[in-house]
């Protein structure tokens, strides 16, 4: 019997397939390891933020008038582990209190945005028809206006009607929450479109449940996995958004420390005091990176079909 010859390139392709399959398991493991690492880092940052009052070496707004002479103190000088900012305030302490602000803003804004997005998306997907049409047109409008300029205009309106000090923590949260729900609404609508056709939804209807009960007790629990993933990734997005707003002067107002506004004056002193510019940004990067890895791991774990 003549032996069949298989082109070498085909063998290569098959080998790749086997390798892809074998590595897929390993990949999940690896991804989860990074997700776990991300979670550990986040817990550490959260603990530091919660106990900032006890951990911080100094008051975040205390000016070290003994050593400070008008320019930032270098790391290690006069007991300031990471140095001071341009106003002689301890950088490490400000970073710790800044973590409080950044994390609280992100978590509250995402909570608000997820609630609005879920309710609107669920109504849209469940009822369909005209309700669906108008809710989706509203999300289209929101999605075609770039978010950052929109937020900046809204914060400018708030500060023009009263003053910049009115841009409190709560106002920032509400503004971000009210504008960033459309992608969640679309996601939830998508799940509800298929969920409402399932047998269990029909059964719930057949035994005479009210719509509200069907939506929240029967359908929503089945749509929760992608919502959790979306919420996690949104936390990363909102941390960046808030820090960008604060950096540009339209977010958290000084003297309250936020990672973003700590960088606002760093540019002017960058040649003599690069540490003022480096450390707050590193905090943002590490936090956002951890959240993104955690979200990626959650996506693999909760919803394998969604993984990329």
């Amino acid at each position: 019997m003549a032996s069949t010859t298989v082109p070498a390139s085909l063998v290569g392709a098959l080998d790749d397939d086997v390798r892809i399959e074998r590595h897929r398991t390993w990949k999940r493991f690896r991804r989860h390891r990074l997700a776990i690492a991300g979670a550990v880092v986040l817990v550490a940052i959260a603990l530091i933020a919660i106990f900032a009052k006890f951990l911080a070496p100094a008051d975040p707004n205390y000016i070290d008038q003994v050593h400070w002479q008008g320019y930032p103190l270098a790391p290690g000088v006069a007991g300031h582990i990471l140095g001071t900012d341009e106003n002689g305030r301890d950088l490490l302490s400000r970073l710790m209190f800044g973590a409080q602000i950044s994390l609280t803003v992100a978590l509250s804004a995402v909570f608000m945005e997820i609630v609005i997005g879920t309710v609107l998306g669920a109504i849209s997907g469940y009822y369909g028809g005209l309700v669906d049409y108008w809710i989706m047109r509203l999300t289209d409008v929101f999605l075609s206006i770039p978010l950052l300029p929109l937020l900046l205009v809204l914060t400018a309106i708030v500060s023009a009607t009263s003053n910049k000090a009115a841009l409190s923590f709560g106002v920032i949260v509400v503004i971000i929450g009210l504008t960033s729900w459309p992608s969640t609404a679309r996601l939830v609508r998508g799940s509800f479109l298929s969920l409402r056709e399932k047998e269990f939804a029909e059964a719930a209807r057949a035994i005479g449940n009210r719509d509200g009960r069907i939506i929240f007790r029967h359908l929503l629990p089945n749509a929760v996995a992608p919502i959790i993933v979306q919420a996690t990734l949104d936390v990363a997005g909102v941390i960046v958004l808030e820090s960008t707003l604060s950096f540009l002067g339209f977010g958290i107002q000084p003297p309250t420390a936020s990672w973003g506004n700590m960088l606002a004056n760093a540019e002017a002193n960058m040649s003599i005091a690069p540490w003022v510019a480096i450390f707050p940004g590193l905090c943002i990067l590490v936090t956002v990176l951890s959240v993104n890895y955690l979200g990626d791991g959650l996506r693999d774990a909760l919803d394998p079909n969604m993984s990329r």
Partner: protein, 260 residues
């Protein structure tokens, strides 16, 4: 009612007058449009080339060292705040400068040109840092999408057929794979448009780039609301236009897509 008056004027192409220097809003924005288009155009081109290239490179050998490096870089790119990246680039290339091949040179960190006279080399030097900063996020996002999309395509039957026909690996990947893998990438490129506009505001502000984004930021500080609204209207229009271009390129990439 005031709003409907304004809306009617917008439809007639009249966005009103800026309250800070009483210039017509349309004129003020259109004057800055070329600089912004230069920055965004070069950034989109760079991101497409590098993003698609990285994605392909990672997908050809999945789970190899090159794949890990690219995937990790993509995660960093997606997590990096644009404004901090801009500061760090200024710190590294403009403040500290680069020493290479015995020469020490620093890139300009502000403005679009050193003098009023047009000088291509000078323009490019000024473009490097803002363009790199603005492209970082899109390179990261697009290369991840390109990678996963190419991995899907590599598994398909027509790719196996092409391989079985005896075509070389590069011909299979580039001729048969690339075009199909680009289809989902077009979606994500279109979806990135609003983010790019937001990134341009930050980049232009930090690098003193005389475009629409910087005009917008200066108007913010002066509460120049006619200009702010005009800017929002125009960039939303740009985003919609961008989506239209994406829809048209679907039909080009995938002949199965037909618009009636």
């Amino acid at each position: 009612m005031q709003y409907f008056g304004w809306l009617g004027n917008v439809l007639r192409g009249d966005l009103g007058y800026s309250t800070s220097n009483s210039e017509p809003v349309v004129q003020a924005i259109l004057e800055r449009l070329p600089a912004t288009l230069l920055l965004m155009g070069s950034s989109i081109t760079l991101s497409l080339l590098v993003g698609v290239g990285f994605g392909l490179f990672a997908a050809i050998k999945p789970y190899s060292i090159q794949d890990y490096i690219i995937t990790t870089l993509a995660f960093f790119g997606q997590s990096m705040p644009v404004f901090w990246l801009a500061l760090m680039m200024q710190l590294a290339f403009a403040v500290a400068g680069i020493t290479a091949f015995g020469y020490h040179f620093a890139l300009p960190s502000a403005g679009i040109s050193s003098s009023d006279e047009f000088d291509l080399g000078d323009r490019i030097q000024h473009l490097v840092l803002p363009c790199l900063v603005l492209s970082f996020l899109s390179i990261a996002t697009w290369s991840r999408f390109m990678r996963s999309s190419m991995l899907e395509v590599i598994k398909t039957d027509y790719m196996r057929t092409a391989t079985a026909k005896g075509l070389s690996r590069s011909a299979v990947i580039l001729r048969h794979g690339l075009k199909n893998a680009l289809i989902p990438v077009v979606t994500i490129v279109a979806l990135s448009a609003p983010g790019l506009v937001g990134g341009a505001v930050v980049t232009e502000t930090i690098f003193a780039w005389p475009g629409m984004g910087r005009l917008f930021f200066n108007a913010l500080g002066q509460f120049d609301f006619p200009l702010l609204m005009g800017y929002l209207v125009l960039i939303s229009f740009l985003v919609v236009l961008f989506n239209l271009i994406a829809d048209i390129s679907y039909a080009w990439l995938d002949p199965r897509v037909k618009y009636d």
